[in-house]
């Protein structure tokens, strides 16, 4: 793993939940525009690594550097601001706000950043179009299928044009057809904006969309270089 010039790097991360170690000296790096898959069995520490990298969880020890800034030196408010401006997220079950329409869900990160409602929803519709869900704008998440909902979630994650997109099992709740389509759209959209993607998955066919794989096992990471 070459950390030089990386957008986001982690070194010797350790994190324990109770008496269970989740990360035990994990290393990580991702360059701008790169798609990195984090693989490993259930309970290996993949999601914890993602949460630490995104500044959601604070590691017990180790360093995480994003664009030259040390995450652990930031306050919770600063990390929240960073997540709003520079990071995007896709979760396994979308985690769309059920009472907002799909368009409002996609516009939400922009609105949290202070963008005016009309501008935010215009940008949202544009992203929804790219992800082929423009016709769902006025529907609520409960009224759309799982695959459609996940594409709305991807649109939401990209609407702020993040520098890093964190995707935690983004196709875990989808059938293979929808999973493939979501991954295609996600990686294409991310690459078109130059966003780095940290993709947590345990599926090889999903990992196949990445440029590089990191395997996490028992809290330790191992870089698996992939031929282009």
């Amino acid at each position: 793993m070459n950390a030089a010039g990386s957008l986001l790097t982690a070194h010797d991360l350790r994190k324990t939940y109770g008496s269970t170690p989740a990360l035990d000296g994990a290393e990580f790096s991702v360059h701008a525009g790169e798609v990195v898959a984090v693989m490993g069995p259930s309970g290996s520490g993949k999601s914890t690594l993602l949460h630490c990298l995104a500044g959601i969880v604070t590691p017990d020890s180790g360093t995480i550097t994003y664009a030259g800034r040390e995450l652990s030196a930031m306050s919770d408010t600063e990390r929240s601001a960073l997540r709003r401006s520079d990071f995007g997220f896709v979760f396994q079950f979308g985690q769309l706000v059920p009472e907002l329409t799909c368009a409002e869900n996609v516009a939400l990160p922009l609105r949290l950043n202070g963008t005016k409602r009309a501008d935010a929803e215009r940008a949202a519709l544009s992203w929804m179009e790219r992800l082929e869900v423009a016709d769902l704008g006025n529907k609520r998440p409960g009224e759309v299928s799982g695959g459609q909902g996940q594409r709305v979630a991807v649109a939401r994650s990209l609407v702020t044009r993040p520098k890093v997109l964190f995707a935690d099992e983004p196709t875990g709740a989808l059938d293979s057809f929808n999973g493939e389509r979501v991954m295609q759209l996600l990686t294409d959209a991310a690459r078109s904006t130059g966003a780095a993607v940290v993709l947590v998955t345990h599926e090889a066919r999903v990992a196949a969309y990445s440029d590089r794989e990191i395997v996490v096992r028992d809290g330790k990471s191992q870089d698996m270089e992939r031929a282009a």
């Binding site: 999601s47 959601i56 706000v97 059920p98 609105r111 949290l112 409602r117």
Partner: protein, 799 residues
Amino acid sequence: MSSRLTHPDTDLATAATEPDPGPTAKGTTWFQDLLMGAKYAVTGGKEGWIRTVLTAVGVGLGVALLLFTTGLPGALDARDQRGRDRMIAETAERKGPDTLLTREENTLFRDHSISGTVLRPEGPDAPLPPGVARFPGPGEMLVSPALAALLDSPDGKELLVPRIPYKRVGTISDAGLIGPVDLVFYAGSDDIEGFAEVRVTAFGDKSPAAPWDPILLLLITVIFVVLLTPVAVFIATAVRFGGERRDRRLAALRLVGADAGTTRRIAAGEAAAGALFGVFVGLAFFLGVRQLVDDVDLGIPTRFFPSDFAVNPALALLVVLAVPAAAIVVTLLAMRGVVVEPLGVVRTAKAAKRRLWWRLILPLAGLAMLYPMIGQGSDRGEFSEWMVTAGVLLLLVGVTALLPWLVEMVVRRLHGGPVAWQLAVRRLQMSSGAATRPVNGIAVAVAGAIALQTLFTGVQDDFTKDTGKDTSRAQLAALIPQHIDNARLPEITKTISEAKGVKKVTTLGSVEAAPADDPQEGYISLTVGDCAALAWVAKLDKCSDGDLFLLPPDNADDTSGSEVKAGQEVLITPTGNESDEPVKPVRWTVPADTKTVAARLDPNGQLLTGIVATPGALRNIETGSLNYHAYITLDLKVPDVQEHARNAIFKADPSLYAMRIMDISTNDRFAAVARGLVAGSAAVMILIGISLLVSQLEQLRERKKLLAALVAFGTRRRTLGLSVLWQTAIPIALGITLATATGLALGTVLLKMVKEPVRFDWAAIGVMAGVGTGVVVLVTALSMPPLWRMMRPEGLRTE
């Protein structure tokens, strides 16, 4: 969850595949489904238990309050009976073997009345007062436990023992007390005769109890409805605690073959079991708290013996049957809008638009039932309690029916705004029911409280009187009876004056006289005091010892006495008319040069008439012993100044009678009802607040993962906190508005029923609405720490 699915497999599969059973079999299936749900309430692992406990505690609190409020009339009756049991029933003129000589020695300690009686049995068959096992000897006394505790307290020792100096030799049992905090003593004495003694031959008032004023009855009826309706709303909310999690479990049951009807009945059975547990929890609460009602000081002087709070067996049976039945009905109704699908997905069916027409029928029907009662409260008329109860109930239940429609109608029109507002409004637009349900209870409580407050404001003048007494000049008066030699007056005045905090003692004596030409019919008041004292009752330009003045008759008061003129001959009755001995009146002519001056209200608010004279003016006239009033001016800044003065009065002479001069008097029953309303409203508000908090936390817990996800992409905590606040504030604002309108309408109708002019105490109404709002703000504040916790990233973890 797995344990749930393994047990019912066979039953459910059978239920799902069997052909349509006949009516009896249908009933059996129904019963089996309910029973299965009941079983899950206790065998459903941690989640099931939490839900059952929540429901049971919620229902239990409601049931306990229900039992307390319905037990209150019985407790009041028992208390009334206890009071009547110790009243004097029969008296005798002369000493006999069955006579007991008594004299009241009542006093006040701060605001608490102390009932004291000195007594001496005059024969072997003298009646014992209730609760008294044997007569105390001279100088001894029996005390109630509460008075014993008060006398033993540091304040009691310093401020009360000096005027109750008897040796304690025993305790009065519960039979002689009206409540556990009753302050009573019976003291033995050899020195009773001569002033205000009563010769008793029997205790226990046998006459029928005084009927309650119809307005008070109306107040009590309305209070009951007003307090119990929110409790019913609360119970309906409590049986739905944990509903969303239960729905997820039901989805799993669908997967193994249960049909929609079966899942609904299983849910109803689960709720019924929780409610039944709640009934028993409520009974336990009731019995437990009942034991504490004599120990816990709620700031209410009216407390009861636990045994007086009896549960009506018929009511208890009704509660045991009706509450679980209501739980079944509420759950089946609630489940109508929920589609539980086999794939573990619970989708709320697109809710039908709420209709207004049938919701309006309830309050209109309520008003229609109250309309015939208008005007029935005047002239001690009678209300139909059933009509009033039903009318008020329908009006209040109408609030619970109208509020969901109102919230839905308003939130449908709300758009735009910041993210927090948008999140809240959209949530309410999608499902306002969950947010509105707990608010219903608050709205009903506030509507009822405002109606009652309006009624109280309207009728309080009938029960609270301005006594006309002037508390700026004197705050305490001591009656110095005629049997006390007037020569002791300076010594008595000096003793009282020396008490801590006493600024001045003003004494006015009086003796009766009559016109010499009409001694049988006429009456002239002769008041004696120094110039300073006379200036309290007459407007004097100048005065010196030896002067006397005439006061004009009070034409407004027929009993004020005859007009007296200068030069008129009068007969003075030296020892007054209390003596049984024939007295020889003293003939005296009012000096011809006596001036007439204007009278002035005395501290008791009375306008004196007749003759006012300085002692020098009557120096050579045999007036006998005068009946004196000592008016005592106190320094109210001195703590417990009234107690110091009372002790000094007792020290001056035990037969002196101290009276507090108060400018306002309140009907005791009215005051008790008003206090009951405050206590009851507080209990209901707390109860509703608890249900609001539980519902709030439950909703937040359901959204734990979503909240964590929102935080993950940078949502500020403040935004989420505000969205929770808006989500509660919008329904509560609408609820309080509707409640205020309903409360004012109901209050107006109630006032018209008692033919009182309609006026509103806006400050009090503001307080009621403010308290309701405050409960919501408090609940929101209390839900913030759990909200922060739920927003932690741990919420995103799945392993």
